[in-house]
Each structure stands twice: as C-alpha cells, then as structure tokens.
C-alpha cells in the first residue's frame, strides 16, 4: 500500500508493561442486541494498541466504552469492570465530562468545528480552564499543532476555517484538538479510513511520535497499519475478544484459528 517499513517493536515493551486501562467482563447491549460479550483486555501505558476485526464485531463499541461516549446513546447498557489507572471509570461519582478530558477521541471522519483553526484547538483548554490568559492559550494551541505536525502548514492561517483544510490536515487538526486538552489516552476510531495513502502515512508517523507521551488505542481495518503502528493488537469477532497480545506475535503466530483466517484474508 505504501512504502513505510513496519515499525519495530522495542524489546523492553514487548512484554506487557503496566496496564493503563483494564477491562474485565465488559458486556454491552444496544436494547436487545448483545454487542460486546465478556470482553476482558489490558491496554498498556504509553504505547499503541490496535483493535482489529470484521465489520460489526464491536470495536467501536468497546472504544466508546473507554470514554463513556456510549452514555449518549439512550438504549446502550454497559456492564462489567472498566478501570483506568485502577479507578473505576463507571463509578457513579465520576463525571464523564472529566473522563473525556483525560481520554481524547479522534473519529473516523474528520470533524473539525466550523470555526477557525485556532478556535478548534483552543476550545478544549478553555473549557477545562487549562490556561489563564491569552498567551497561555496561544502557547497550548501552538504546541498542540506542533505535536500534531500541522503547525508548519497552518501557521499563517490560524484564523481560517478548520473546514477549509484538506482531509488529512483536518484529521491532524482533530488530533491537535484532542492533544490540547492534555489527555493521557487517545482513542482513534479508523482515523485514516477517509484519507489517501500520503495523508495516512503522515498520521501514522504522528501516532508513532505520540506514543512516547500518550496511551493510544486505534481501531483499524488495515492489517498493515495495525502491524506498522501498534505494539499490541486485539482481535474481535462477533462481539467477543478472540485474542490479544504483542502485535508481532498476533500477526506472525496467531494462537487462534479465527485470527489466522482474518489476518490471511480468508474471510471478511
């Protein structure tokens, strides 16, 4: 697909490090529909974990459990134990709004606000009172745009509308918007599915840079992408977590027949 070499996994991260997120027996129902069945998985800190699996298997559903985005769907019911840094995400005292400041999200289709590039990035920090005055916000905006490797391209047109950017730039703007709130975890739901190979390559590079500071969970349909950017991979099938482990192992030597078939493209 493109000429980026698979990123090698550093040996010290090969074995599961301290988990950032631990999920135990997560079940999700959309009304009658049982979308996730007894999912238990650990997401390691400071690294990239990829969720793969056929369409409709519940990857997005699980991702949206992590920042409680499913709360906005009235018919959705989540049970089980989901913890971040050992703290129950679903405990009654925890406001999902604060959780989402810690767990940022990047969506499948770039969705910048129809406001200026600057306002797009500044919105989150202002909302959470992360900056006292204008100069501080300016700093946050610039550093977020730099981290999202977008700054050089837009530094002269921060007042332009976010929607005037190209698709790939828009997606990087969305990543900058998520980074600006200084989250610990960034969830990405097929962030490159609407992008061309070059824009995809840029985002993948970016993800690789970001993993030193953030815990990243990415849903992807591209096996190559999962292999390139992630250190760990989890394979979902019909609402069940079939297996998870170090990416190399999942791709080279899957334990499960279903995983092998999926990876080798024998079913879709």
């Amino acid at each position: 697909m493109n000429d980026i070499a698979p990123l090698a996994v550093p040996p010290e991260q090969a074995d599961a490090p301290r988990p950032k997120i631990t999920a135990r027996n997560i079940n999700v129902h959309y009304g009658e529909k049982h979308a996730l069945k007894d999912v238990s998985v650990d997401v390691p800190e400071k690294g990239v974990m990829a969720f793969i699996g056929p369409s409709g298997c519940g990857k997005s559903t699980f991702l949206r459990c992590i920042n409680r985005m499913n709360d906005t769907i009235p018919i959705c019911r989540v049970t089980g134990d989901l913890r971040m840094d050992g703290r129950d995400i679903y405990e009654p005292g925890l406001d999902p709004v604060l959780l989402r400041a810690r767990v940022g999200m990047v969506f499948q289709k770039p969705n910048p606000f129809p406001k200026s590039i600057y306002e797009n990035v500044a919105y989150g920090p202002r909302l959470h009172g992360l900056a006292g005055d204008k100069t501080e916000i300016d700093e946050i905006v610039v550093s977020a745009l730099k981290k999202a490797s977008l700054f050089e391209e837009v530094k002269d047109r921060l007042k332009d509308s976010g929607t005037s950017l190209s698709g790939g730039q828009q997606q990087r703007l969305c990543i900058a918007r998520a980074i600006a709130v200084r989250p610990q975890v960034i969830l990405m739901d097929e962030p490159c599915s609407a992008l061309d190979p070059i824009a995809t390559a840029k985002i993948e590079e970016l993800i690789d840079e970001l993993r030193t500071n953030f815990t990243i969970v990415i849903v992807t349909h591209s096996m190559q992408q999962a292999a390139r950017v992630s250190q760990r991979t989890a394979f979902f099938h019909l609402g069940k977590l079939i297996e998870d482990g170090v990416t190399d192992q999942i791709f080279m030597n899957p334990r499960h027949e279903l995983t092998r078939n999926y990876i080798t493209g024998r079913f879709g």
Binding site: V97, A101, N111, H221
Partner: protein, 577 residues
C-alpha cells in the same frame, strides 16, 4: 473485504450496448421526460411570476397616488382679529382662534362673486379641515405670523383631490375655433360663434344620446313578453316612447340640445371666467355664468371643457369644478408628497387618514410577539430536540405541537378573547394582547422550524465537542445552536411574516376599532396594518380605495424590511465561520 460496494451493478450479462436501438430508445425517452419536466417547471415559474407581476403592478398603480396630495397655494392673511382677538399671543388663546375664517377669507379673495350662503359653503368645502389644523399648527409654531400675509399650502378635500386627479370625471379640453361673441350676462348669456364653433360639441352630446338610447333598448329587451302584465306594459310603452323621442333628437344633427345635469357638462373657459352651457346649437349656445370673465364682447381665445360624467353622478358639482379649474389655471394648485399619510392615524376624512397608527400598532404587536416567541420557541425546540427523554409524554407533546400549527387562526383569537381579555382582564384592542395571541399562533411554527434546524446539524459536531470533554449542554450551546441559528432565524422570520399579515384573531380581541390616536405603549388601543387595510377596503368612499392600496404597499414594504433584516442577520451569523 470491504470493497464490495465498488463492484459494478449487475445488469444483463452483456452489459449496456451503446449502439443498440433499445439503448437509444431508452435514452431518447429519458431525455424527453427531462425536457417535459423542464418545460413544466418553467411554465409554473412563469405563471407564478405573471400573477405576482400583475398583483404588484395593480397595487402600485392604485396605491402610489395615495402617496401624493393636492393643495391650494393661497395667500393667507393671518388676521389678528380672527385668531387672537384678545391680543395675548398666549398659546392657549391661539389654539382657540378661528382658523376656518382665515381659509374662508383666502378663498373669498380668489372668488369674490361667491356670495350666497350655499355657494360659500360649497367653496369652503373644497378645502379640507386638515388645512385649518395646519394653519393652527403653523401659528402655534411661529406666532410671528400673526398680522402677516403668507402663501400657505391648503390641503384640498378628498372630493376636490379626486377631481384634480380626474378620478371623479374624465375632462377633455378643446380650444375654441374662431371668435366668440358674448351677449347678455349672469344667467342668460348667449354665445355666438361663426363657422359652426359648437358643431363638434353638439355631435358629442348626440353621441351621448345615442348611448342612452342603446341603454333604453337594452332595458326593453330584458322585459318579459308583451301582454303578460299590465305594469310591465306601461313600462314598455314608456321606454319605447323615450327611445323614440331620443331617436328624433339624434336624427336631426343640427337641432339644438338642452343640457341638464343628466348629460355631460359643457363649460366654456373664457380668459379668467367660466360659463356653463345650458343649450347648445351648432353656432350658438346659451349659458349661465359660473365665474364671471372680464367684460368684453368679442373673444378670440376660449376653450371648451367636457366633463364626461353628468353632474348628478359626480361628487364635485359644476360650480366647484369651475373654481378648481380656475385655481389650476392661475397656478394656485400643487401636487406634493403626502407626508400626512405616514404621520397621521386613521380618520373619517380620506385626505387626512394615515397609516402611522397602524404601522406603530403592528410594530408594537410584533415586538411583543417576537420577545415572547423567540425565547420560548427556541428554548422549547432545544429542550425537545436535545434534552427531552423519548417517552409517551414527549411524543404526545410533539404531535400536539404539530397539530397546533394547523389550528385556524380565528380559534387563537377566541382563546385570546376568553383568556387574556375575560379572565386576565387585559386592556381591549391593545398590542399587548394582540402580541400574546399572535405569539400563540406563531410558536408552533418557530418550534417546528427550530427543531428542524437543530436536527440538520451533523451529529459529528456534537460528538467532537463531547469528545474534548464538553458537557451535553455546552456541546449544544457552543456548537449545535450557532450552526442551527440561520435556520432558526428563517423559521422565526416566516413566523413573524405570518403574524404581520394575520387579521382574523386580532378582530376577536377588538383591534378592529376605529382608532385615531397613535399608540405610544403596548397597553394603548391600537390597530395593525392588515386590519387597517381590511377596515379601509370596506369603506364606500372612492378616496379610501387608493388609501387601501397605499396601506398594502406599506405592509409589503414592512415585510421587505423585515426580510432584509433577517437576511443581514443570517449573513452576520454565517460569517462567523
């Protein structure tokens, strides 16, 4: 895997053959359908445009005259003895002065021959009572006028105004040919013109007779058959005799004609005077004097005026016509912009009636409606669309709001009458109550439009906001609402335009009363533009017809201004991004 969507659609195994007759036929049919649709669409647009153009042209043609008025520019002597008999110059005394007498004197100086009371009353009747008020205002504003003579514009009465516009009767002027010998005076003047000076005029009155005969024959034809009824038979013979006698008069082209007030009037303008012909022959005419010309027996310059409508059917008699004609001839009449139309409230006198009261009434009413409707409507829409739980109750609410939008407006008027006037005892005819009623009427429209606008905002924007940690309410107010704002404003403006044109419910709460004063507050009695139009259109006076059309123009203008404001506001909101 996921690329199945890209597979070509399954057609016949061979696919589409470009050159087959079938494919061509299909293509041709498709193009024909397209062309047909285009033609129909164009036709629909043209028909609509034609109707609209007709409506606009008609209203403008009828209404524009109401924006102008006719005035006599007469020299008024502000006689201290009449307007300030005590000599105090105190405004209270000045207000009491006899300004009517000033007008009377100004007219009298123009037409000194009008002496007997009836004639003088007719002369005074040419000028509107508004002119008297104007003089009073002028003196109150500038007491220095007292004792001076000034040329003042004096508003004509509506009848005189109609005459000057030639709406009362068509007037044709013909320059007289050849010298005219004038003999006798006052009521028995004989005019002798050589070379058949009056032939054309005589022929004209014969044509009029022919018309009348045709009318008689037409009436005859509608009568039932002879012998059925004695009454009908006498009527028939009467009509037949009348037609026969007219026929005899027509037959002899040179026989003189007697002109009564049932035939078109013929006036002879001689220099500064006007005579009215009572009997006309080809070379000779008998006349009475309306305004005495300068003495002299042989006149070379004269003209003949025909007033098409017989005197009995006119609002302005020959006497007044003559005065108006002479005033115009002396250059003492003017046509000017009718500022009064925009400054006055309603009036029984057409020339004084204005739409200021209704305009302010409409503005106040709409203000009440807007202030109530927009916050309540938009809040309700946001709640229902974004926050309300989906259950039986909210479903019921939604259905009822949709139904409410279809309730006839008169029902809202009855509701307003029962609730606001009878139960709450709010003042009758007030813009406050009108605004409340219209708010009820418009709320469903605004709620439905606002909900549609909110629904049209892509959910990804809300998700983005939630994703960076905005609360639900923040996401709605920071992102969804601003994006929905143009749509909400369109809905609001549609609702307001609807409210502006609404008449029926306002009739129920008494805004139909005859109100002269211009309302100053939302609790004062007022009327609104559409109701004013309704009221005026119902009046018999011809002069009110043009007022009605004028008021319609103002209403349309109001609407245009409102829509323009909405468009500008929309632009402002949209440019933020």
């Amino acid at each position: 895997m996921t690329d199945t969507a890209l597979a070509p659609p399954m057609t016949r195994s061979a696919g589409v053959d470009f050159d087959s007759t079938e494919a061509r036929e299909l293509l041709k049919r498709r193009y024909r359908a397209e062309a047909r649709f285009k033609a129909l669409g164009l036709l629909a647009v043209l028909v609509t445009a034609a109707f609209l153009a007709f409506l606009l042209v008609d209203i403008l043609r009828k209404g524009i005259p109401s924006f102008f008025e006719h005035r006599a520019t007469l020299t008024v002597n502000f006689d201290a003895a009449l307007i300030d008999p005590k000599g105090t110059r105190d405004p209270a005394d000045l207000r009491e002065g006899d300004y009517q007498a000033l007008v009377r004197a100004a007219l009298q100086s123009q037409f000194p021959e009008a002496q007997d009371r009836r004639t003088r009353r007719a002369l005074d009747g040419m000028i509107s009572s508004g002119a008297v008020d104007d003089l009073r205002q002028a003196v109150l504003a500038n007491p220095g006028l007292i004792g001076q003579s000034r040329v003042m514009p004096l508003l004509f009465s509506s009848d005189a105004d109609l005459f000057l516009r030639q709406r009362d009767t068509l007037i044709t002027r013909r320059t007289g040919s050849g010298p005219l010998r004038v003999e006798g005076e006052s009521n028995a003047v004989t005019l002798r013109g050589g070379g058949a000076a009056f032939r054309a005029a005589l022929a004209e009155s014969k044509t009029f007779l022919a018309e009348r005969r045709r009318a008689l024959l037409a009436e005859l034809a509608t009568l039932p058959a002879a012998g059925s009824n004695a009454g009908v038979d006498t009527k028939r013979t009467e009509l037949e005799q009348a037609a026969a006698s007219i026929q005899a008069r027509i037959a002899d082209a040179n026989a003189p004609e007697t002109l009564t007030d049932r035939e078109p009037s013929l006036l002879v303008a001689i220099g500064d005077g006007i005579l009215k012909i009572t009997e006309i022959g080809a070379n000779e005419a008998k006349a009475t004097t309306l305004i005495a010309p300068k003495p002299g027996s042989i006149i070379t310059e004269w003209s003949l005026l025909t007033l098409r409508v017989p005197e009995t059917n006119r609002r302005v008699n020959d006497n007044v016509s003559a005065w108006l004609e002479i005033l115009a001839q002396r250059g003492l009449t003017e046509r000017a912009f009718n500022a009064r139309f925009f400054q006055n409230g309603d009036s029984r006198e057409p020339e004084l009636a204005g739409i200021r009261g209704a305009l302010i009434g409409s503005a106040l009413t709409l203000m009440v409606t807007l202030l109530l409707c927009v916050p309540i409507g938009v809040a309700a829409a946001i709640y229902l669309e974004e926050f309300a739980p989906k259950n039986r109750f909210t479903d019921l609410l939604e259905v009822n709001i949709n139904n409410l939008a279809a309730v006839p407006s008169i029902v809202f008027g009855l509701l307003g009458l029962a609730v606001f006037l009878n139960a709450f005892d709010l003042p009758r005819s007030a813009p406050l109550v009108g605004g409340l009623v219209l708010a009820l009427l418009v709320l469903p429209t605004i709620i439905i439009a606002s909900r549609a606008a909110l629904k049209a905002v892509p959910p990804s924007i809300k998700e983005a906001a939630l994703g960076v940690g905005a609360s639900h309410q923040q996401a709605v107010f920071h992102h969804v609402l601003p994006l929905a704002m143009p749509g909400i404003m369109t809905g609001t403006i549609i609702g307001m335009a609807h409210a502006l044109g609404e008449t029926a419910p306002l009739l129920m709460i008494g805004m139909v009363a005859f109100i002269v004063d211009i309302p100053g507050a939302i609790t004062e009695a007022a009327t609104v533009l559409p109701v004013q139009i309704f009221l005026w259109s119902d009046l018999p006076e011809l002069a009110f017809q043009s007022r009605t059309a004028g008021a319609i123009i103002v209403l349309l203008g109001f609407l245009l201004v409102m829509n323009a404001a909405a468009v500008i506001l929309r632009r402002m909101f949209e440019r933020r991004w």
